[in-house]
Chain length 360, copies 2
């Protein structure tokens, strides 16, 4: 400690001083920069880089830990979402991270930054949302911090979970020949975001409502994740938060494998199809580059998938879709579209598409 007067205290002053801004490095570059060379103790089984960290709190007892910061105007908008749903969504992000490991949520901490002019009612309704998700998903809201934030509402949720049978699934465990499977439908959340933010319109009230709900009121797949991990040998898993292309890309990268997916098998809801048809949009773009679907994306051996598909419909209503295979002989993601040859998925164009949809 000490040395408060020296702005470079504690860092290697010989290190080349860059004049880059964080915008130049990007989110993943920044995380790499900040966590490079981080050394973990023996209890930290998994550190930075998966949906949750895994910490062995006592022999064979694994805790899962995740945090998500949401800022008004960046991750949600008070103009388009009710405080109740903002509260729900803040919890949904962390719940989905726990689900993505096959874990069970235990407790949460909430830090809340509020401008002084925030209506008391807004804070109350936000907490009604937070508390309702805690109740629905059996999470104990054990503590928090409440501070003044001059301009914007800031919500940070930290969640701790555990692995009931000592099992958890990482992004890095996919094996060649694994079937790639996804729960539910993809892309609806992204379409819903464009509707609430006024970038697209949908005159059909029912469709409009369903797409917006997919965006504002996602349902994390906690029970599904636990069911998968407790009953099947799931090799790799994560949640779809940045869009299928980017997220499957993480599984490929961390498992050191490629993936081949079939465009016509990607699960797109009838509602999203109808919305895209009427607006002459490509639903595949929403599914591949969308994000915030909070569905589970996982891989397992084909024989296990057979066993799984026979049991799934008795357990859950949402569909389970086999969209492709992991392959050691290709690099990155290849997509096979109807009537077209297999081609590498151009992640860049989807990244651009995704960025152009950001709220600000």
């Amino acid at each position: 400690m000490g040395g408060y007067a020296a702005p470079t205290h504690g860092r290697d002053v010989d290190k080349k001083i860059t004049s880059k801004q964080v915008a130049d490095v990007g989110e993943f570059g920044l995380i790499k920069l900040l966590t490079e060379g981080l050394s973990y103790d023996a209890q930290t089984i998994v550190g930075v880089g998966d949906d949750c960290a895994v910490y062995e709190v006592s022999k064979g007892h694994y805790l899962l830990a995740t945090c998500d910061m949401l800022i008004d105007g960046v991750h949600f908008s008070r103009k388009t979402a009710s405080p109740f749903l903002i509260g729900c969504k803040a919890l949904a992000c962390s719940l989905s991270d726990i689900a993505a490991m096959g874990g069970r949520p235990l407790f949460a901490l909430i830090s809340l930054g509020l401008p002084e002019t925030t209506a008391e009612e807004f804070a109350q309704d936000l907490y009604v949302g937070i508390r309702s998700m805690c109740r629905d998903y059996h999470v104990s809201l054990v503590g928090g911090d409440t501070v003044r934030s001059p301009e914007r509402v800031v919500i940070d949720v930290s969640m701790i979970g555990d692995c009931p049978k000592g099992k958890y699934v990482l992004r890095s465990g996919a094996k060649p020949g694994d079937a790639i499977v996804v729960t539910g439908y993809l892309g609806s959340s992204a379409a819903g975001l464009e509707i609430v933010s006024g970038k697209q319109s949908e005159s059909d009230a029912e469709r409009r409502s369903e797409l917006i709900e997919a965006h504002l009121a996602p349902e994390p797949r906690c029970a599904h994740g636990v069911f998968l991990v407790e009953n099947f040998e799931i090799h790799s898993m994560m949640d779809v938060s940045d869009g299928l292309a980017g997220d499957l890309g993480h599984i490929c990268e961390q498992s050191k494998l490629g993936a081949r997916i079939h465009a016509d098998k990607i699960p797109i809801s009838e509602t999203l199809k109808a919305f895209c048809d009427s607006a002459a949009l490509n639903p595949l773009k929403y599914a591949l580059a969308g994000g915030e679907d909070y569905e589970l994306l996982f891989t397992l051996a084909p024989a296990e998938l057979e066993r799984l598909t026979s049991r799934w419909p008795d357990m859950f209503e949402i569909p389970l879709t086999h969209i492709g295979e992991m392959d050691a002989n290709i690099k990155g993601i290849h997509i096979i579209s109807a009537g077209r040859r297999e081609r590498p998925l151009d992640a860049q164009s989807y990244e651009h598409f995704r960025k152009s949809r950001e709220r600000e």
Copy 2:
């Protein structure tokens, strides 16, 4: 879930709608409002209202959980503190909360909101500070989140600890006749804040440096807390983060007792005395209303205190000071000043003093 269109969804719509802003309710009022009637599961031993929550993760194995949100211009200032020290301080708040329960820190999650124009170097140095504290206090930095924050740097630290021998200490356990004890010195941090923010000046370089360091580079008392709880019967404990008057007030309130303190026993460093002498200021005000000292404030039976004072100097360099007694026959805090009668401590005036020192 659902009902995204209804801003009042999930709340009792008959409830009287207030038009109050959060500034009208104050921090403690807001926490009460948001957490009132919160129901905890059987594993949540202590919820909102102490330095940490206590969660029984397996039989007799207690986890401690705390989070602190720090916002530029509210809790620190990039104008007066180096990123290294901002990082250190962010960790210090949470470490001190764990120390205040007598616990041992295990792991931390960090959410970081950064404006896009933040220099890469700032983020790096911030993390050098964070990582240096993690190393010094044996905390594993297991994960985090990095997001864009349009205007301000926002740091949220969540920390999980445990209780090595299954013992932890709450604010609520003080008993009548308990000695009130505090570690280290009080008030220096508050004086340091006034110096760095330009509200006061100190021409003596050594004094200036010591006071600023007390503010910017506090040392959480983790080893001290564990030593106290493992070896002595500590009835109640917390850390001094809002000033002695307010914090001892929490012990009084939660233990349903009063407290009598002796003004001339409150530990004030020679440096703070000299600073106050030269500026014609009252050091007691800094100690009582200051805050961010991150010392431990605790109560124990007089016989235990005797045992403790005989062992303490062999273990630690910082002083231990007996400043008063818990008393069932008085309400709130009474103070005995030299040459003056015992009188109730007027918390209000200290609250005002504290507020007038806020950064914005």
